[in-house]
């Protein structure tokens, strides 16, 4: 068995981890090694190891209570891990590189009495920008993302969507190299979600690294170069979207008056399931093109009244990887 397929059960291959930690060519923005966070007896994060390469948008997925926010707080240096080590932008703590890191927390809020431009400028000055530079940046960002008219509006008078956009802009006003966005899309309408996607695309285009925590799988599929799925404080998947899709077999639903016995000998079919509403669901082995099955039916003279190939989505992968654990967590 080739070493690259020798999986650790946590979604890693021995070689891939080894390469990521040791390959000097690989530019790593973030690295966690065996990080654990204990609250009393409760393990919020359990021996978590992950690597985020520079310049990518990395999706950080997981059900509620998976340990995402705790991990993000540890990455930011807001809380200390119980054991393990963290390296961010080559430093052992985000506090050493805080001017190069931006953060949008899951629960969002602003100083109600501050104007939008002052808010963005304030957070930028805390990240090291001079007052004048911060003011300029704040105005530029507000103009660029459609909030120029509201620059002098107090936060209490902004709509929820506007407030959230102001917060996003505040997190990137100092032009950070590494941006952590925790549930940035929650509460935004589709138009503003589009604006936020645009912001993230811009960051990637300029070579910034983005760690994007989200529950919306479509966003992760559209935006992320890499995906990390957390469940129960542990990583259950770490890889690309294609690798994620390969985790869950594609299925084909078909209906025919003829017998499907002729297909039993096909190696690419992993299983047959009779459907209650009539017809069959065939589970294909990873990487199989459904066209192969269609061709086999044609060759074996099986007349089809329906043939529907379903593509594996990230949602399927997520449910498969964390579904049971998430249910258990909810029940607890």
């Amino acid at each position: 068995m080739p070493s690259f397929v020798c999986r650790l059960g946590l979604g890693y291959t021995v070689n891939s981890l080894k390469n990521r930690w040791t390959d000097p060519i690989m530019n790593t923005a973030l690295e966690l090694r065996e990080v654990t966070k204990l609250y009393g007896d409760f393990r919020a994060v359990d021996a978590l190891s992950l690597v985020v390469p520079t310049g990518c948008v990395c999706g950080f997925l997981g059900p509620n209570g998976a340990g995402k926010t705790t991990t993000l707080r540890m990455i930011l240096g807001i809380i200390e891990p119980s054991t393990g080590s963290i390296s961010i932008l080559g430093k052992p703590s985000a506090m050493h590189v805080r001017a190069r890191v931006g953060y949008l927390p899951e629960e969002k809020g602003l100083y109600r009495k501050m104007k939008a431009v002052d808010l963005i400028s304030y957070f930028a000055t805390l990240k090291g920008l001079s007052r004048r530079h911060a003011d300029e940046r704040a105005l530029n960002l507000l103009n660029r993302y459609g909030l120029g008219a509201f620059a002098q509006t107090k936060a209490e008078a902004l709509s929820k969507g506007m407030s959230q956009k102001v917060q996003v802009l505040a997190s990137i006003a100092h032009d950070p190299e590494f941006v952590i966005l925790d549930e940035p899309f929650s509460g935004l309408d589709p138009v503003n979600q589009g604006v936020l996607e645009e912001i993230i695309m811009d960051l990637r285009a300029r070579g910034r690294t983005v760690l994007l925590s989200t529950h919306v799988m479509q966003h992760a599929e559209r935006l992320c170069d890499r995906l990390i799925i957390l469940a129960g404080g542990r990583s259950v998947f770490d890889g690309t979207l294609a690798e994620a899709r390969a985790e869950v077999p594609a299925t084909v639903r078909l209906k025919s008056l003829d017998s499907l016995e002729g297909l039993r000998d096909l190696a690419c079919i992993r299983g047959f399931k009779a459907l209650a509403e009539g017809g069959w669901e065939l589970e294909l082995s990873a990487g199989t093109d459904p066209q192969v099955l269609l061709e086999a039916c044609f060759v074996r003279r099986i007349q089809l009244s329906q043939f529907h190939a379903t593509e594996t989505t990230l949602h399927d992968v997520f449910v498969k990887k964390v579904g049971l654990g998430a249910r258990e967590a909810v029940c607890r």
């Binding site: 809380i79 805080r98 953060y103 927390p105 602003l110 100083y111 009495k113 805390l126 505040a170």
Partner: protein
């Protein structure tokens, strides 16, 4: 430090750049001025003329009461005229003493007219304070006290509106005074005063004094005593000279100015209390807002918790200093105005006129201002540290109120002590309280005027500094541990664990 200062500036601007803040600052001295003027305004405008009825069963006391009422009215008129004359005299001219006892409006006005400004208006005498009205015939004719009082009670219970004989309109009856001959004791006639208003005692006291005086006069005559000798003795007073051993030889006499020096620290203690109390609330609001809005998380990804704490403490302290400086500044401006335009100079009449000058001198060349600033700073650190810790453990102001209740109770003690410490500044209670760090700033500020032992000054100061350091250290630990916490407010046990956790 840079980040702490950025946070401090935001905290300062958030509070000091609002109209409400400056309105509150101006309102404070305004409230004091209005409060000081209310009794005068009430006396002049607010209190209505008190209409009353006398039923004199002795048949000879009404002239005595009338005479006393006339004297009282004359005195009040003289006092009002004095104020009017002071407001309307020409600058630099000393107002003539206006006698309160033998005041005649026209004569006095003619006497001081040369000193008045040419555009001085007309003096309006104050309205009559007490007016006797005739009783109803049904009561006036009764000669038996018990029957009379039954009627009076029924009459008063029926309502106070009454149209006396000889008057065109109804009046509100204030009291019915029954004067009866007292035969069993040697106290003269007895006054039975029926009134629903038991708070305003002026009329009752005036009548009591008039009747007592008349009785004494008649007794002197009856006993054959020389009236002139008695009057002379009654008005004789022991001369009291108030001296202070602290003052230079030849200047030992204590005047109003010295009393001012003695009591000024109490005023500053009050200022200190109001300032610490006000800004502590601001600090609590600030922490709770950041916690409930979750801004705290963004802040802590940008600055350390120590920088955040320091920034908040510095920013809110600056707000407090601006607040105090504004109050003292307002006081000085008013004083300067009085000295410059009010005609008050060191040569002007009465020690009262020297209060503004003396207050300014006191602030300029005494220890009061530096001590005030020192105790403000140390006291603020102490309370602010605790409040910061409380804020960090609670998500809402409602949660924080439970803990704040204790703090407010703690802070009430120095306010209560303000009433007795100036009278006994080196007594056991004051000494004891000054060694409790939470009270040291307030109590020592009050005591220093009385020259407490040096060991008390230095010892309490050292203890206060040590306590400040401990509070900042402990509250910093609690702040760091609690500030990201959400949900139920932390229990005391949990807070203790954060404090002692290694």
């Amino acid at each position: 430090m840079r980040n702490a200062l950025i946070i401090a500036w935001r905290e300062f601007a958030e509070n000091a750049k609002t109209r409400g803040f400056w309105f509150g600052i101006l309102l404070f001295p305004l409230i004091w001025i209005v409060t000081a003027q209310i009794p005068r305004l009430l006396a002049a405008k607010g209190t209505p003329t008190r209409h009353f009825v006398i039923v004199d069963l002795t048949g000879r006391m009404i002239p005595v009461i009338e005479s006393a009422l006339q004297r009282d009215g004359q005195r009040r008129e003289a006092l009002a005229f004095r104020e009017w004359a002071a407001d309307n005299r020409r600058s630099g001219v000393s107002a003539q003493q206006i006698s309160l006892e033998s005041f005649d409006l026209q004569t006095t006005l003619n006497q001081i007219r040369p000193q008045l400004q040419t555009n001085a208006g007309t003096f309006t005498p104050p309205k009559v304070k007490f007016r006797r009205v005739a009783p109803p015939a049904s009561i006036a004719s009764l000669g038996d006290l018990s029957q009379l009082e039954v009627e009076v009670r029924a009459w008063l219970r029926g309502g106070l509106a009454y149209q006396p004989r000889g008057m065109d309109e109804e009046v509100s009856l204030f009291a019915v005074a029954i004067i009866v001959e007292e035969t069993t004791t040697k106290t003269g006639p007895a006054l039975r005063f029926w009134s629903e208003n038991q708070a305003d005692t002026d009329l009752r006291e005036l009548m009591e004094e008039a009747l007592s005086r008349d009785f004494r006069q008649r007794e002197y005559v009856r006993l054959g005593l020389d009236q002139k000798v008695i009057t002379g003795l009654e008005t004789a007073r022991t001369e009291v000279v108030n001296l202070s051993p602290r003052k230079a030889e030849g200047e030992e006499r204590v005047g109003l100015v010295d009393l001012l020096r003695q009591w000024a620290p109490s005023g500053f203690v009050y200022l200190l209390w109001v300032a610490v109390f006000s800004i502590a609330q601001m600090l609590l609001n600030s922490v709770i807002e950041e916690k409930s809005n979750r801004i705290i998380e963004v802040l802590l990804s940008s600055v350390t918790s120590t920088e955040l704490m320091a920034g908040k403490l510095i920013g809110i302290a600056a707000v407090g200093l601006v607040m105090i400086a504004s109050w003292i500044g307002t006081l000085l401006v008013v004083m300067l105005w009085l000295v410059r335009f009010g005609g008050m100079t060191s040569q002007s009449e009465g020690a009262l006129a020297q209060v503004p000058l003396e207050l300014m001198t006191l602030l300029g060349d005494s220890w009061i201002l530096p001590a005030f600033l020192l105790y403000f700073f140390l006291g603020y650190i102490l309370y602010a540290g605790v409040i910061l810790a409380i804020g960090s453990t609670c998500d809402t102001l409602k949660d924080a109120q439970n803990y704040m209740g204790v703090i407010v109770l703690l802070m009430m003690v120095p306010l209560v002590a303000l009433t007795f410490i100036p009278r006994d500044p080196n007594g056991p209670v004051a000494t004891f309280l000054s060694w409790i760090p939470f009270y040291t700033p307030f109590v020592m500020m009050n005591r220093v005027a009385a020259g407490p032992p040096l060991r008390d000054i230095l010892g309490t100061l050292a203890l206060l500094v040590v306590m400040d350091v401990l509070v900042i250290w402990g509250c910093g630990r609690i702040f760091r541990a609690a500030v990201l916490r959400t949900g139920q407010p932390a229990s005391l046990v949990q807070i203790w664990r954060w404090l002692v956790k290694k």
